[in-house]
Amino acid sequence: MLWACLRFPELAVEVFERSNVASTPLIVVEQGSRPSVVAANRTAMQQGICIGMTVGAALALVSHATIKVRNPALETDALKGIAIWAEQFAPLRSLANPAAVLIEIGGCLSYFGGLRVLLKRMRDGIDELGYRAVMTVAPTATGTLLFNRAGFETTITDSRRAREALCKVPIQALDYSRRTIDALEAIGVKSIGDCRDLPRDGVARRYGQALLDMIDRAMGDIPDPQKPFVSPETYSGKLMLPAPIWDVDALLFGVKRLTHEMCGWLAGRYHGVAAMRLDLLHEDVPPTYFPLNLSTPTRTAKDLILLWRERLSQQKLPDRVVGIGLLTIETVPLDSQSLSLLKEKGSNGDDIDLLDRLRARLGDDAVSLLHTYADHRPESAWKQGAIQASVEPLPPAPRPIWFLTQPTALKSVGNEGWILLDGPERIEAGWWDGAPVCRDYYVARNPQGQTVWVFRDWRQHGQWFLQGLFA
């Protein structure tokens, strides 16, 4: 086995910072009697803010900094989001303390083309999600976590070398009772290697068997099972913005983050999204929902982001946005496509179905597919929506291209200039559903030279009506 550990040392600030498009100064404070800065983004750090400062001192330095209270629930959600996203790499993932995700990558190395390629993909992906990770690789889960916590950014695949390196890891990296670790340090045990040199029974008696077990698990001497993380059956991601915004570009920045996360989840399940929904949370008014249906399911983040761009650029928002949610409504199995060498579809933006692109911007009402319906009444012989192939029998005579849903009454048919070209075609139907018709249809040419489809309505004393134009 080979475990990768992704630890997020700045998660406390990154949960807010990842949707901060302009990278304005942002500080995260811990609540308490004397609130102090526990994390700050790069911009704030560059302006002199340090971890541990009081809020007053920080604001004296950077008066326009956004202050956020540390939100552990949000951090846990973010970590879960990363674990969901990582499903595209490996089925076995586990959450670890503090702010780390363990991924068993031994089984998928050859699929991704080796360790270096895989790690690069992970790093790029993490960057797209808006996080920064410290990455380590070791043959055991506990071992890789220890390296990571100790700050050894190593990738060791060989178990003998891993054991040697682990001996050098400071004892402080162990996730164990603070008192015990301090006591060990006080007697000169600085590293894991030092601890292993002590007599085992004595260590077990004085400091507990659990300490030895932890070291043995890291060394690979005893089994090292991890609690697997189980992805939800539908994706649902949420993102809080550092400050309320109107700007669509800033919104899209956040949407991008969530879309990448969703696409990782989709790729892990070999699914494509067919319907999804974007929720924009506002300060005072109820959320705005944007459902988006795709005629061609996909899991290509780039295409989905383009669709959201079209969709959002056309919208008037009722209020400023404080949070973004993205969830899948329907997913369908989709063959692997992202790794294919040659693109089957055309280039330059044709990867998105034309229909989806049009719908995203114009809305579902403005874009329609029509199909025929088996009914003799002309006004009922069609319906909205797409079906694969119409199998209804064709009408016995040609139909006009342009159709008037509301027939207009004609007075002058039969006068000078009118020529009846074809007909009559008697249509008498609909007595079963309360909309009966009894009409004689003719193809005629009117004095203006248009070829028209007219009928005499025998339910209205033979009145002539215009139904359509043969274009």
């Binding site: 029509l370 079906i387 192939a389 119409s390 139909r399 359509g468 043969f470």
Partner: protein
């Protein structure tokens, strides 16, 4: 059976300096008298065709159906933007078009209609796009002409003849009028110059009986 490299010679993507006319992307109209007058012998697939129309319902769509049928058989899509009336689905099937390949657009304003039309022209899977417009800025027309020059398919702009016959960016401009039961076609502008005298095409119902099969 032509080899792939021979097929390539006929591809509209291949341009050979000495054979400008032959490599032009066209699709025959199936009206031989019209084909004879159009540069390359058919509707251009890499340029806007502007159709000035006296009134709808004189056979203006009939003019394009033979070409459309062929394009849609290749699996391409047809986009119809802002038509003057409801396009009647049974009629499309009567003309042999598969409705699942036809997208109808009716956006709220002309800006979005133009955007949709341009998207269609830019899309390699779209074989033909139709739009009905009245007023149109010169700049917008030029933009459409640029999109059409990618050569993805038929690009037809219908405009009312009443707006006048100013200059145009379109490569081909026709005027259609009802002419005693036939369709009068007058080529106002074409690549290569010259303006032939108007011709009469007999579309369906020209002789009083359905001739569409």
């Amino acid at each position: 059976m032509p080899t792939p490299s021979l097929q390539l010679l006929h591809s509209p993507l291949l341009w050979r300096g000495d054979q400008l006319a032959r490599t032009r992307a066209i699709i025959p109209t199936d009206f031989s008298s019209l084909d004879h007058q159009l540069p390359g012998g058919g509707w251009p697939l890499d340029a806007i065709t502007e159709v000035m129309l006296d009134q709808p319902g004189i056979g203006e769509m009939q003019l394009f159906f033979p070409a459309l049928t062929r394009l849609l058989k290749e699996g391409k899509k047809l986009v119809i933007v802002a038509p003057p009336y409801l396009p009647y689905p049974p009629a499309f099937r009567w003309h042999g078009l598969d409705l699942s390949q036809v997208i109808f657009i009716h956006a709220a304003d002309q800006k979005n209609n133009l955007w949709a039309f341009e998207q269609a022209l830019n899309n390699a899977f779209c074989g033909a796009a139709f739009i009905w417009l009245s007023a149109l800025e010169d700049k917008a027309m030029r933009r459409l002409q640029l999109a059409a020059s990618k050569g993805n398919g038929l690009a037809i702009v219908f405009r009312p003849a009443s707006i006048g016959m100013g200059s145009t960016w379109a490569a081909l401009r026709l005027h259609l009028a009802a002419d005693d039961g036939c369709l009068g076609v007058h080529i106002l502008k074409r690549r290569g110059g010259g303006s032939p005298s108007p011709m009469r095409l007999s579309t369906a119902y020209a002789v009083g009986l359905p001739t569409i099969s």
